[in-house]
């Protein structure tokens, strides 16, 4: 183990420990926010694996998040499935979808890939409406509180209770963070970076670039699906908004803000963006009353500013300037 590895491992352990400690000190509102942000950061990490490392910019990741949400939510709502079965159902729905979409969309490159993924996601969004009798469209499904609990032997783990919910979110976040950390440092991760930098040359070196990209796509879809399924179980709601284009743009924004191809960038981006939107709402109400600007205006401005002035995001810039070892 070199010093570089030691620092990186210590940093990740430290972040997880800090998040664990925050559970005991945060006020109620921020405690709830952070639980939600942790799940959304998992979504962003899934996106980052494909966008940051493999260099594939997808505009349709809402479909994997939504596959997780609906894959878990529909059987819970209609057939009364338990939490664990529902989670696995959401996870596998997203994984299978990612495999099928990957087989098709990865035949294209660059701009065509962006549009194809956007269109497949749009099909998914419209399907939610088409099967409105099952999904209830934009009204959505609410999962009752008593259904959102795990029974282990005699004890019941109530996932609607704030601390349990926070710890569950943190558990999922930590697992995914460590998995991505291991993935991107493995030889597979290095092949993905090589594909991002120069696909032709990587192929010439004898790597099957299609297969590697497909694995990245499936892993990315599975992580996003896990985030979706966890979101449904912890917060008990799914509606068509989660399948809309907005939820394909948001993970892109979070990753760009935090820093693409950094393991902790998605967390940083999601936290900052959440509080930026949250805080700007109050500021706009105070200083520009009567303006109907919603958070989408902030999202738009943030996208342009980021892509113009900080294309590497916060952690990407820090890595370039000061901390070369940052994973």
């Amino acid at each position: 183990m070199t010093g570089r590895d030691g620092k990186a491992i210590a940093l990740h352990g430290g972040v997880i420990a800090a998040l664990f400690a925050l559970n005991f000190v945060l006020p109620e509102y921020h405690h709830g926010v952070l639980a939600r942000v942790l799940v959304l950061a998992v979504f962003a990490m899934g996106y980052n694996l494909l966008f940051g490392y493999a260099g594939l910019l997808s505009l349709g990741h809402a479909m994997f998040f939504a596959a997780g949400l609906y894959g878990a939510g529909l059987p819970m709502y209609h057939f009364g499935w338990g939490v664990l079965a529902a989670f696995l159902s959401g996870l596998s729905a997203a994984t299978i979808l990612a495999f099928v979409i990957g087989m098709l969309a990865l035949r294209t490159k660059g701009v065509a890939f962006m549009i194809v993924t956007m269109m497949f996601a749009q099909v998914g969004y419209l399907l939610v409406y088409y099967f409105g009798s099952w999904t209830r469209g934009d009204e959505g499904l609410v999962i009752q509180q008593h259904a959102r609990a795990i029974e282990i032997g005699a004890t019941t783990l109530d996932l609607t209770e704030p601390t349990t919910r926070y710890m569950t979110a943190l558990f999922l976040f930590s697992v995914v963070l460590l998995v991505t950390f291991a993935l991107v440092r493995s030889s597979f991760g290095r092949v993905l970076i090589a594909i991002r930098e120069n696909e032709e040359r990587t192929r010439m070196l004898g790597y099957d670039t299609f297969a590697n990209k497909l694995v990245a796509m499936v892993a990315s879809g599975a992580i996003c699906g896990a985030a979706g399924a966890a979101y449904l179980i912890l917060f008990g709601y799914v509606g068509s908004t989660f399948a809309s284009i907005q939820y394909s743009i948001l993970p892109l924004l979070w990753v760009l803000l935090g820093g693409a191809s950094t393991t902790l960038g998605p967390l940083v981006g999601t936290v900052l963006m959440f509080y930026l939107i949250d805080g700007s709402g109050d500021l706009l109400k105070t200083y520009a009353p009567g303006w109907n600007i919603s958070h989408l205006g902030i999202v738009g401005a943030a996208l342009i500013i980021l892509v113009l002035f900080f294309p590497k995001g916060i952690l990407g810039t820090i890595r370039d300037r000061w901390a070369r070892w940052l994973p």
Binding site: L57, L59, L104, A105, R107, T108, G110, V111, A112, M114, I115, V116, M119, F120, Q122, V123, L126, L127, Y129, Y130, I249, L252, L256, W291, N292, I293, S294, L296, G297, V299, G300, A301, A302, L303, I304, L306, V307, L308, P311
Partner: protein
């Protein structure tokens, strides 16, 4: 009404959709063809055109045709100006990198939408048609204005074709599209051509919007569906091909009109979007286009 007249009505409605769609998609296609920029904010230029048309038309009193004509001239000019500023401030600085510009135009989309929501509000508002003449067909009366929209679109498409293929400006644009580096070496101001093309693309969307507001109302979210439809048209028609764009607009507009009359519009959209994604996967040059360079 019997099946035959019903079909004629659906086809006419489809032709009106096609006429507007062709103009809008042509703008998108020009921008992509010459600049290799996928302008996701194109639908918002369309929306802006419609909203401005309402503002201009309601500022003018007197006969509705005065306000409408004023809107038809002024609204595209303002939208073109907005596009010009956006190009200079954002796209040019990104060096027209395809992926960065998509992200930036998504940002532009949200900003324009929110600006419209702030200053125009969430209501849908109509603009009066310049005339209310009804053409009487044997089975039903049909709005003369809608037929005029089809005519106006055909004229504009012909004008664009003429400019592109028969004038010096068109030659400069085609040279830039074919090989921007060589064009630059021959003294063509590629930067200015890009800015101009981006503005003209936005203006085409705005003209389409002004033509459509007397039929459907102006609303701050009205850019969404037309954006998706123009993507579909441009992809089916082959990216950057004018003839393909027009043929595809006819195909999509008329079939959308007919399918929506006889089947569920959601199902129609699902099938159309899926088919187009498949076309892009298996025939990226489009159904009518030639292979991309």
């Amino acid at each position: 009404m019997a099946f035959g007249p019903h079909l004629i009505l659906a086809t006419l409605e489809g032709l009106v959709t096609s006429a507007v769609l062709a103009l809008m998609a042509l703008g998108l296609s020009l921008v992509f063809g010459v600049m290799r920029v996928v302008n996701v904010a194109h639908g918002e230029f369309y929306m802006l055109g419609a909203v401005l048309a309402w503002a201009i038309a309601s500022a003018f009193g007197g006969h509705p045709s005065i306000g409408f004509l004023a809107a038809l001239v002024i609204s595209p000019l303002i939208v073109g100006g907005v596009a010009l500023v956006a190009d200079r401030l954002v796209l040019k600085r990104l060096d027209y990198n395809p992926e960065a510009t998509i992200v930036a135009t998504i940002g532009l989309l949200y900003i324009l939408q929110q600006v419209a929501l702030t200053f125009y509000g969430p209501e849908a508002r109509p603009v009066q048609a310049p005339f209310t003449y009804r053409v009487s067909l044997p089975w039903f009366g049909y709005s003369g204005y809608k037929l005029a929209v089809i005519g106006a679109s055909i004229l504009l498409l012909l004008a664009t074709w003429f400019v592109l293929s028969r004038t010096r400006i068109g030659m400069i644009m085609r040279a830039t599209q074919y090989d921007s580096e060589t064009a630059q070496a021959f003294g063509i101001p590629v930067g200015r051509v890009y800015t101009g093309v981006f503005a003209v693309g936005a203006m085409l969307a705005a003209v389409a919007a002004v033509l459509i507001v007397p039929i459907s109302q102006a609303h701050y979210l009205m850019g969404r569906d037309p954006l998706l439809l123009s993507f579909i048209v441009v992809i089916i028609g082959g990216l950057g091909s004018l003839r393909g764009t027009v043929v595809a607009a006819l195909l999509i507009g008329v079939s959308d009109g007919i399918i929506s009359v006889f089947f569920s519009p959601t199902l129609a959209k699902i099938i159309a979007t899926f088919v187009v994604a498949m076309v892009l996967v298996f025939r990226p040059q489009g159904l009518f286009g030639t292979a991309a360079r």
